[in-house]
Symmetry: C2
Subunit: 366 residues, 2 copies
Amino acid sequence: MRTTLCDTLGIEHPIVAFTPSEHVAAAVSKAGGLGVLGCVRFNDADELDGVLDWMDANTEGKPYGVDVVMPAKVPSEGSAGEIDELIPAEHRAFVDRTLQQLGVPELPEGQQRDGVLGWLHSVARSHVDVALRHPIKLIANALGSPPVDIIEQAHSHDVLVAALAGKAEHAVRHVDNGVDLVVAQGHEAGGHTGEIASMVLIPEIVDALGGRAPVLAAGGIGSGRQIAAALALGASGAWMGSYWLTTSEYAQSMGDGVLQQALLAAGSSDTVRSRIYTGKPARLLKTKWTEAWESPDAPEPLPMPLQNILVSQAHQRMMRAADPQAVSMPVGQIVGRMNEVRPVSEVFADLLRELEETFTGLDKLR
Amino acid sequence: MRTTLCDTLGIEHPIVAFTPSEHVAAAVSKAGGLGVLGCVRFNDADELDGVLDWMDANTEGKPYGVDVVMPAKVPSEGSAGEIDELIPAEHRAFVDRTLQQLGVPELPEGQQRDGVLGWLHSVARSHVDVALRHPIKLIANALGSPPVDIIEQAHSHDVLVAALAGKAEHAVRHVDNGVDLVVAQGHEAGGHTGEIASMVLIPEIVDALGGRAPVLAAGGIGSGRQIAAALALGASGAWMGSYWLTTSEYAQSMGDGVLQQALLAAGSSDTVRSRIYTGKPARLLKTKWTEAWESPDAPEPLPMPLQNILVSQAHQRMMRAADPQAVSMPVGQIVGRMNEVRPVSEVFADLLRELEETFTGLDKLR
């Protein structure tokens, strides 16, 4: 199955995997898709540099990409200490009280990390600078069109730029700014997502762009049938994020434990769209943590990037704790189809097999 | 393009149209799909009987169906007067005040109708009794599985029963109850709708039923590409409601004027999911009316069937008024693709043409 996307990205199959795990990203690239490594978790650009060295050594020369978080409008900036001062005491008290109620232990001495500074514009820029020293094929921005100078910087290194869009007018603006590929992020997707669902959004963006850029379908994809549907809607390929969270490679990079347990147990109704992860609406696994933020005494989430910095240590504490009911994780409605831990190569082969079977089945209807 | 649905329903093309307009329903049946007439607007079963006589005379013997609104749990019952007493004064005052603020005139003397009693269980039963005296092919229930005795009554007349489902477990329960066809109603759909979007919901329901009943995809469908996507996801056909609201035949039955103007102007972001139409979450066109119900002084919507009875006269007043910003109408996110008024035959032919083109295009990717 080849689409224009395959030629654009130099890949064999029109499947792109967005993942914070270098092991998943490398496995997808080796399987003939494009692995895209999420950079937001790297507070330190040197750490990212090291991981990209690993990618270079472990992708057999196959193309891969990176994903940064760069709002078009620059939000609050500053050092970790300065940013900390912008967070109201009421919010800190609510987080502390909630973790106590949920029985989540403190982090051991010396294991506290700073908030996730990857949400800061300056840090995201340092990610781009580092990534462009590696043979990357693509920089994706998880938050729409990146600043035009970043697009030009990427293009001067022959690197393509992708941006997420939840509305057709955003997609057009991205391409006007020089973006090469648009990721149509449907309502069902994990992470930042708008209100328009994939069935409506994908053809709307495809039509609005009129062939100026390939469109990747994101949201609700975890089977070959869903990739076939995305192609029928006019997409050139699938952008999948959530579905890799229950692979063996994900556990290898990010630790297994409670998170994968929680994902394996969840159904398609067990997600919620909320501002509590980053300050902008994002779809998350529904847990006791998301429920606490819906209680009458919960404060309003803070704007980006403050909200993520507020909850960052809480996320670390919940990930280390033993309760799958109290974790915090962006995931899409496809979580209902994530029911076993399998290696990427097996997941990838199944997607291709079912995609082919779906095409054969459709052919018989004619 | 033939699917099992075509054989099940005795139709040529796997497209079912749900519509309150007998002119739309008849035109779809004549075009080779299945027109399904919504009965909720008929307070008087004799009036429905007359309209079904018209259907019998105007469908050239082609199959057609009806749609009733019958909750599995019987809600409040009674005469119009008794039901009226269950509506709090605060709610009436809010409706009156809002209409005044929106500048919506009163109905002329003698033109006030009762609230829409089709939402009452007893009235829906009278619809079924009347419909079974006509050569209908299908009774659909807009609210999930109808009571088992209704299913048996339909089957004893060789009439199939369809039910809407927004979750896989509901679909399984419907089929366990004897329902013959399941309509998978995605989040993007107009009217009553759940949280799971079509891309995830359709294959989930298809898999949960394991071939026990054909699945119709509902929500977000207004093009041949979208029908192709639904088939790729495993559906046997498309259930389309919103898309017929801007046909010439709809105007012929229901009057044109402000409603079609409002729909033609709306984009895919201009809907909202709210309990204000019926008491259960339903997707509506976003207007000054829906905004008023989101204001801090708005009361909580009443439970079904009281909410629709509360707002029924308000709906009539807004439909007669001249302001497309103040109407109340269930419609799905596909409203963004509803941009001109055309006859059903033309719309239907375009759907089939694009469906065929999509299949040809997909074939080239292999």
